[in-house]
Symmetry: D2
Subunit: 133 residues, 4 copies
């Protein structure tokens, strides 16, 4: 059981979201970590000049996934509008990062792993959104 799920079990009040879907938090944290690492790995490639858009998109995606994970980890005074619009933005960022990394996946293993992770995270965001409409 992840830390996120373990903590959900301890929340003292009811939670306005399917607890299982909140596994999205784990997916977002994993994606943020992967994007932070991929940005740095790109910086260390000899062909970094060809990877600058990839670095940038990774940085955006890491920031957005981390913020989305934080917002989803809060249940007090829940506001569906904030969660929904942020999940939309996060899915957009994950798709953009997956597409960008996929373009370098045959040359760089970190981009291949990152593309897969972003794709999975985008899907998790969309699955959660589907339960909120």
């Amino acid at each position: 059981m992840s830390n996120a799920m373990r903590m959900l079990e301890t929340y003292p009040k009811s939670i306005n979201l399917d607890r299982a879907k909140l596994a999205a938090i784990d997916s977002l944290k994993a994606c943020a970590q992967t994007c932070t690492a991929c940005a740095d790995a790109c910086l260390s490639e000899d062909m970094v000049a060809d990877l600058t858009k990839c670095v940038r998109t990774n940085l955006d995606c890491a920031d957005i996934c981390e913020t989305t994970a934080r917002v989803l980890s809060r249940h007090t005074g829940y506001d569906a509008n904030i969660s929904r619009s942020l999940l939309e933005a996060c899915a957009t960022a994950c798709r953009a990062c997956a597409d960008e990394c996929a373009g370098h996946a045959d040359r760089h293993e970190h981009c291949r792993v990152c593309a897969d992770t972003c794709r999975a995270c985008e899907q998790t965001c969309r699955d959660l959104l589907a339960t909120m409409s």
Copy 2:
């Protein structure tokens, strides 16, 4: 001239956004700071039990504004979809936080200042969005 504007002047390539509109960065940073401080001020109020939704919304708004400021501060490999969807989410968060703080503005000066700042930031986000469509 703010640090954000000063640095924009030093960017080596062209920027895909109206430079003046990027004053949004300053508004977002100010809003993030104000929300962080308002969350903490609420925690120190004797009536904190009535302000828990306000604390939470402040925390969300601070995180989202900071992330949005970072994304807007990057110009390399610009992706309009990410900026646009994140600005939408940020405007949503700023509106929610402004509304929540406004409900406590008559009792708490920090909520009054924060409501005004969030309202201004929401407008700045929407102004910038209007130039991007």
Copy 3:
């Protein structure tokens, strides 16, 4: 294998730290997540007025752990002074948060879990520091 460890395997250059010790990244991410959730759970307790220092320390610890995880996830242009001083600060924050949460652990399960997680994270930081001197 965690995402952090998986990405370490893909880093294109040599890494100036014992790779195994970098499991610290996983500990820091787990601690950040737990502190974010504990802050929010405290906000939802009826006795929130007795938990305001706990909320605040959780927020500090979450921010510091997340930043430390990011810094440790970067290997390009490694600077031992930054990592070392930040790990010291992080261990300090984890100890303070563990102590604070421990004081509420008998009443609040989220504080009990958080105290344990912070204690473990402090130790992980100190173990990593011991390999760097």
Copy 4:
């Protein structure tokens, strides 16, 4: 008057730090913003391959300054040990980033501005530390 100072005026309880010294918050926010922008400007330079350590150090410094600004912006349940150790880490990061950027200041205006900003922020952190011992 900055947003940070304006909000300090609204804090409902006493603050365990010289309010004027808390101008450090403004310095930290400016430094975080400048480092985020300098990292991105470096990515857009044709000679990015010579600037990868600069990008990395900028990313670290931005994260650490933002986190330090947040911690200093909280006054509820103040813990001097956390603030002090984090300010030490922040001063270390600012010095490292100033030194790194200074090495590129003659070629890149963004590095010149960033070196100055980091140097000033390091000093502000040390000035604040001096009042806390």
